[in-house]
């Protein structure tokens, strides 16, 4: 496989600059809010990377985020802003819970996530292709509808009879085996990495991927080349639906201790939004997404340690993520910085 190294270096440096700016601005805000930023960051990085346990927690937090990032990334490569991963995750998790409780094996759970993802993401695909509805508006509306509908199912249809704060759990036979004992890291992580590698293969080594990228790059050129952009859009949504549906499925099948959806859907909420940031920092490239996913996973895993040891609310990392994404949106930040430095 021939890889264009030089093409990778500039975006890599730009993403790293964004990360550094995010961390620095985060430190300034922490200081202004009356916290000790150095203590906070030491707790964060030590919690996430300082031990085998920390690394395992980082990678397990990474698992669903790579999958939701692929949804956004595939969309972006097709010229779409698909924000719909968030809602799709809920239904993926619910479908996996229900199917594993009927058949009790991992494959059926994954299948549930895939089917739910295709079904829910089919809606914005349909609206885009046949009604011309902007996908940003439709997927955001669908996220909110998904939130309330999923909440209804979780509370009314599949509650745990022994513990009203949770749903029924995935049976033992359908849980992903744990890689490192005593941690939350399961083989579900492998599913994410495989999905990212497959997405890379499809995008750059198949005709379908070529069609997706050409439609994303220039719709008119695609039509001249005999490519149907509508077909590309539908595929982009459906594959994206599969990955974020899987994100929900692996979260309930591969995350100890509950293997269920917890109160207020807290353990499956927010992965869709995280995925957008992961994808943008990974430059919407499936392989870049693996690495930026691990970085975001580190923030997430370290946030708990930071809250306990430095008393900083763990939502602080979401703020850093936001700053990073805004910074990534600044075009040519590298050249901009060079100019500033030269002055």
């Amino acid at each position: 496989m021939r890889v264009d190294i030089r093409g990778f270096i500039k975006p890599l440096i730009e993403s790293l600059i964004a990360i550094v700016i995010g961390i620095l601005l985060g430190a300034i805000i922490l200081a202004f809010s009356g916290y000790n930023p150095i203590k906070a960051y030491i707790a964060l990085f030590d919690g996430a990377l300082g031990s085998k346990y920390g690394w395992a927690m980082t990678l397990s937090a990474t698992t669903p985020m790579i999958l939701t990032a692929l949804t956004f990334g595939l969309g972006a490569r097709t010229g779409l802003f698909n924000i719909g991963a968030e809602g799709t995750v809920y239904f993926g998790a619910i479908a996996a819970l229900i199917l594993t409780n009927i058949w009790g094996n991992i494959l059926m759970g994954l299948l549930g996530g895939i089917i739910a993802g295709i079904a829910w993401m089919g809606i914005p695909a349909f609206l885009k292709v046949f009604r011309g509805v902007n996908e940003v508006v439709s997927t955001i509306m669908l996220n909110w509808m998904a939130y309330f509908l999923a909440l209804y199912i979780v509370l009314q249809k599949i509650p745990n009879p022994d513990d009203p704060n949770k749903t029924i759990a995935v049976p033992l036979s359908a849980r992903f085996p744990i890689i490192i004992r005593g941690t939350e890291l399961s083989w579900a992580f492998a599913i994410s990495v495989i999905a990212a590698v497959l997405a890379y293969y499809v995008l750059w080594h198949t005709t379908l991927g070529y069609e997706l990228r050409v439609s994303g790059y220039n719709e008119r050129a695609a039509r001249y080349a005999g490519i149907n952009p509508k077909k590309a859009i539908i595929w982009s949504f459906l594959i994206g639906g599969i990955t974020s549906g899987l994100a929900g499925a692996v979260e309930v099948m591969g995350r100890p201790p509950s293997y269920a959806i917890s109160q207020g859907m807290a353990n499956i909420y927010g992965y869709g939004f995280d995925g957008i940031g992961v994808s943008l920092v990974g430059r919407n490239h499936p392989l870049g997404i693996i690495f930026s996913g691990i970085f975001f996973g580190m923030l997430k895993a370290g946030a708990t340690a930071m809250q306990i040891e430095a008393g900083v609310p763990l939502e602080m990392v979401r703020m850093v993520q936001g700053i990073i994404v805004v910074t990534v949106a600044i075009p040519g930040i590298l050249d901009l910085l060079k100019r500033v430095v030269r002055k």
């Binding site: 508006v137 509306m141 509808m145 609310p313 602080m316 979401r318 936001g322 700053i323 994404v325 075009p331």
Partner: protein, 301 residues
């Protein structure tokens, strides 16, 4: 029955305020050619800082102005990236939305020390101008209507409005006529974000009287849908805002009404504003036309 209808109608007038302000702001911004999908985040952050300013100063009006100020700063950030640096119009908005989730979720426990939610004390909230048995009307409803009418007049009846529309319709021609495309685009973006900021602060210091990380609840995007629905026309956005506000308020009302909840689960009703938005948007596309250079960075040849 009549009482209920009246109170829902009055509630719709209140719920319409943040939607209409944001829609009209977005209309001006897009008429000048700048797309911004960060209004959701602007509403949320302005609600947070608006409540903070109101409590510090002791005046809800300072809270509203403070919220508008936060909106203005975020608009300047967006304008700087899109207009001057010629960046993508959508990604900074996504960034602002993600940033808002973090700032507010972090800010509530960091500033107020409460988990997840802060109740704004009633003495920091705006006193209604009209009180009826069916609910009260905030002065902000009237202010919103005045802003809409003024904006509409400026946009369609003055040379300034003509210039704003020309840089969004045909920036090359505008440039050839000596109009500073970048300056008009930047100012229109800032104006749009400032109005959204005002609407966001209204949610926390007046209407809902609370700050949560889900406070904006998709309203930034419903407002964009309303902008499309209105055909980028402020007066029609006022009407559309009332319709969207009606469903918004209806779902809030049902959630607090036990008799209705026995018939239909509240979660179903809660999806109504979003479902209605989807249906309306899917129904009207193709019959409205966006400004020609909307969302396209303008680079001089």
């Amino acid at each position: 029955m009549m009482d209920t209808a009246l109170s829902i109608l009055i509630g719709a007038l209140t719920a319409m305020v943040p939607l209409v302000l944001t829609s009209v702001g977005a209309t001006v911004s897009e008429r000048a050619g700048v797309v911004n999908i960060g209004y959701e985040g602007i509403l949320l952050m302005s609600a947070f800082f608006g409540a903070m300013f109101a409590e510090i100063s002791g005046s809800p009006w300072i809270g509203l102005i403070g919220g508008a100020f936060i909106g203005m700063l975020l608009g300047m950030l967006h304008g700087f990236i899109t207009v001057y640096l010629k960046g993508d119009h959508v990604i900074p908005g996504i960034g602002v939305n993600l940033l808002a989730l973090g700032v507010v979720a972090f800010g509530i426990p960091a500033y107020w020390g409460t988990a997840g939610q802060h109740q704004v004390p009633s003495n920091f909230r705006i006193a209604p101008i009209i009180k009826t048995a069916y609910g009260s009307l905030s002065p902000m409803v009237l202010i919103t209507i005045v802003i809409v009418v003024l904006t509409h007049w400026v946009l369609f009846r003055t040379p300034l409005g003509l210039r704003i529309r020309s840089v969004g319709e045909n920036p090359e021609a505008a440039d050839a006529l000596g109009i500073n495309v970048e300056r008009y685009r930047f100012l229109a973006t800032v104006y749009g974000a400032t109005l959204a900021g005002l609407g966001g602060a209204f949610m926390s210091v007046d209407w809902l009287g609370t700050v949560t990380k889900q406070l904006s609840a998709g309203r930034g995007f419903i407002a964009l849908a309303n902008m499309v629905f209105s055909g980028w026309n402020p007066l029609r956005a006022l009407l559309g805002g009332f319709i969207f506000g009606f469903f918004d308020n209806l779902s809030v009302w049902v959630r607090t009404n036990p008799t209705v909840q026995e018939i239909i689960p509240w979660q179903f009703v809660a999806t109504l504003p979003y479902l209605v938005t989807l249906i309306i948007v899917a129904g009207i596309i193709g019959r409205v036309r966006a400004p020609k250079a909307d969302g396209k960075p303008y680079k001089r040849e």
